[in-house]
Amino acid sequence: MPAPAELARQAESADPKVGLRGVAALRRLLEQLESLHIRNARTQGWSWQEIADELGVSKQAVHKKHGRR
């Protein structure tokens, strides 16, 4: 029998609201991390192609999303 605190935690993580909010927050964090690291790479002279290769996406995709910054 798990401790009450453990039970509470399990019940909480089975709540769709908790999971969905977590995913939404993670997506926002991801967007911030992506633009931060891309800006850093550009500052250090990386090409869009090099950045795209590391991110595993096409050069066009990265440039379209971050190119104008």
């Binding site: 909480e12 908790v18 977590g22 927050a25 911030q32 991390l33 931060l36």
Partner: protein, 185 residues
């Protein structure tokens, strides 16, 4: 997005945005805008049948308003963004610390304007709907407050933390608006 907002409502939104930034949030939520609203005109509670307050030079000053600092205190104590991430096993403080070690302080918050979350945009749409229903040409602070509380949101959850029933606040505020027309502005 804020074209039809009055100067006061716009300021409340800007205050909410500043609040989100101050709290280190990654986006602007309805809970932040509620702090902005409270900082400006207060969110009237306990209003039966009309909010308690005084009218000074045509402006209604509520005497039973939620104080912005109370909301602020709760938000600062529990960062909903960090909590949401912690619930799925990610530590926002650790992520933030890692970035600050590499890129200096405010690495995460130097991103220009913080984005509005989808629920924030929804609340602003509801504020517009309130204005339409109340036959107001513009969205004022009151319509903004109504928009934040019309549906369940982080803003209404924040009020509940102060043992205030958001539905009651909404209904009383709405009734007062519909009844008093231009007086409660």
């Amino acid at each position: 997005m804020l074209e039809r907002f009055t100067g006061g409502a716009r300021e409340a939104v800007y205050d909410g945005m500043a609040e989100a930034r101050r709290l280190g949030a990654t986006s602007v939520g309805p809970e932040h805008l509620l702090v902005g609203v409270a900082a400006h005109h207060g969110v009237v509670v306990g209003a039966l049948p009309f909010p308690t307050g005084i009218v000074v030079r045509g402006a209604f000053l509520p005497t039973n308003a939620v104080r912005a600092e109370d909301l602020r205190r709760i938000l600062a104590a529990e960062d909903p963004e960090a909590e949401a991430l912690a619930a799925i096993g990610i530590s926002l403080p650790e992520v933030r610390q890692t970035l600050e070690d590499a890129f200096g302080p405010d690495a995460l918050s130097c991103e220009g304007r913080l984005p509005f979350r989808a629920d924030t945009k929804r609340a602003l749409e509801l504020a517009l709907r309130e204005a339409v229903e109340l036959r107001r040409r513009r969205i004022g602070v009151t319509e903004l407050a109504l928009g934040l509380l019309r549906e369940r949101s982080r803003a209404s959850e924040l009020l509940e933390r102060l043992d205030i029933d958001p539905t009651e606040v909404y209904e009383q505020l709405r009734a007062a608006q519909a009844g008093l027309g231009a007086l409660v502005r």
